[in-house]
């Protein structure tokens, strides 16, 4: 049976250099090792991010995907957005305007998984009708 824990929301520090990455990973690392980790990183405070910070985000994403979980970025500051675009990783992450939106997205059933117009049994009834006429 697949189980998943709570959704973890964490604030990314203002400056994401090598030292801050180390401190941040000490906190976040154990959470990534759970079963199907679901993580939202609040990037609203980010003012500066070195390549070590971008590398850390990619490593975290890799870890959660390995464990069948997901990592989403929320409330990106313009600075964070510019750096992620510059480093060509902006499209790798799923991003949301707010943390609430990101959390909600974990619980949402994808729209394309649910038939929107005709119920699944419509085709069965149609086929039955054709069979009846034929007999």
């Amino acid at each position: 049976m697949l189980t998943s824990g709570p959704i973890v929301v964490m604030q990314v520090p203002e400056i994401l250099n090598v030292k801050e990455v180390h401190n941040f990973m000490e906190e976040l690392g154990p959470l990534l090792e759970s079963n199907r980790p679901r993580v939202v990183l609040d990037c609203s405070q980010v003012r500066s991010m070195e390549s070590a910070g971008v590398e850390m985000l990619l490593r975290c994403l890799e870890e959660v995907l390995k464990r069948d979980g997901d990592l989403k970025l929320a409330a990106l500051s313009p600075e964070a957005e510019v750096i992620l675009e510059l480093m060509r990783v902006a499209r790798v992450f799923e991003t949301f305007q707010t943390c609430e939106d990101a959390v909600r997205s974990f619980n949402a059933i994808p729209a394309d998984a649910v038939p929107q117009e005709t119920p699944w049994y419509t085709n069965v009834f149609n086929e039955l009708g054709v069979l009846k006429q034929a007999s």
């Binding site: 500066s48 390549s51 070590a52 313009p78 957005e81 510019v82 510059l86 480093m87």
Partner: protein, 319 residues
Amino acid sequence: MVGAIIIGDETAALEDTQSPSCAGSCRRPWATVEVLGKAPIARLAESLRTELCDAVSVIVNDPQDGQEVRTPHPSVADLAAARFAEYKGDGFDTVLVARCGAYVELDAAEMLSFHGEQGSIITRAFAGDGPLDLWMVDASALPCTPLMSALLCTRPAVYRSKGYVNRLRNARDFRQLVLDSFSSRCRLRPQGSEIKPRIWNCDGAQIDRSARVVAPAFIGRNVHISGECLITRGSNVESNSRVEFGTAVEDSSILSDSYVGIGLELSHSIVDGHNLLNLRHNVSLEITDPVVMRKNTVRGGDRQSLNGESRQMALSSTE
């Protein structure tokens, strides 16, 4: 005789506080920043020298090597006043004073004849959207000090300039000037030679065979564009800069002496050393990671001398 004093001070570029107005951390006025091979202030000096003036003096705060060497504004004004006095002493009849904040395509000869017709002590140039910091002055009639207040307080004759004007108030204006030049909306022509339609290349520029430069684009003096790079959509890379392997530069300006690292995607931006201005997000960033962006300390000349050395080595090995 006609003389000219061009003042390039930072106060001329600080009118718009809404967006980043000056290049880099040392807050250079945009008019003193190299654009398509030469700074607008140098272009103005050159055009005045060739078209009208017998002598041209440029007074500018020029911070060297990123240090904040600032001549306080009164000193710049004092220098201008001193130069004005020298012109007077040397018997110059008319002096054109330009406080260079904007890029202006001025018909100086027409302004001079208008000034003569008006018989006014001072004639000030105006564009469609207001006054320009350009005055034509009767040297004998105006006191030398304080020059700027004398210019601003005296009621001038109004000369309407019909030429192209870019106020260069902020980074957006700077980018607009680049694009206007590429599309021939102004007379500012890129330096160097046009190697393909609307692609300009200056002396010492090295573009790797696998790099792609899409018109319109400008590659400045001693610039190095590495393999698999893409320079596109009206981008300009100014002198002594280096763009590393696989980086895409789109609708951006890389100012002189800048290093842009490997595999980046630079769009709608201006890079000045380790400073990055993104115009789409209106964000100014200081990149602290030298692998990503920094001031380029390897000069084109150094590279040339290295190349010279290696060529010599190759020659000696074949001898």
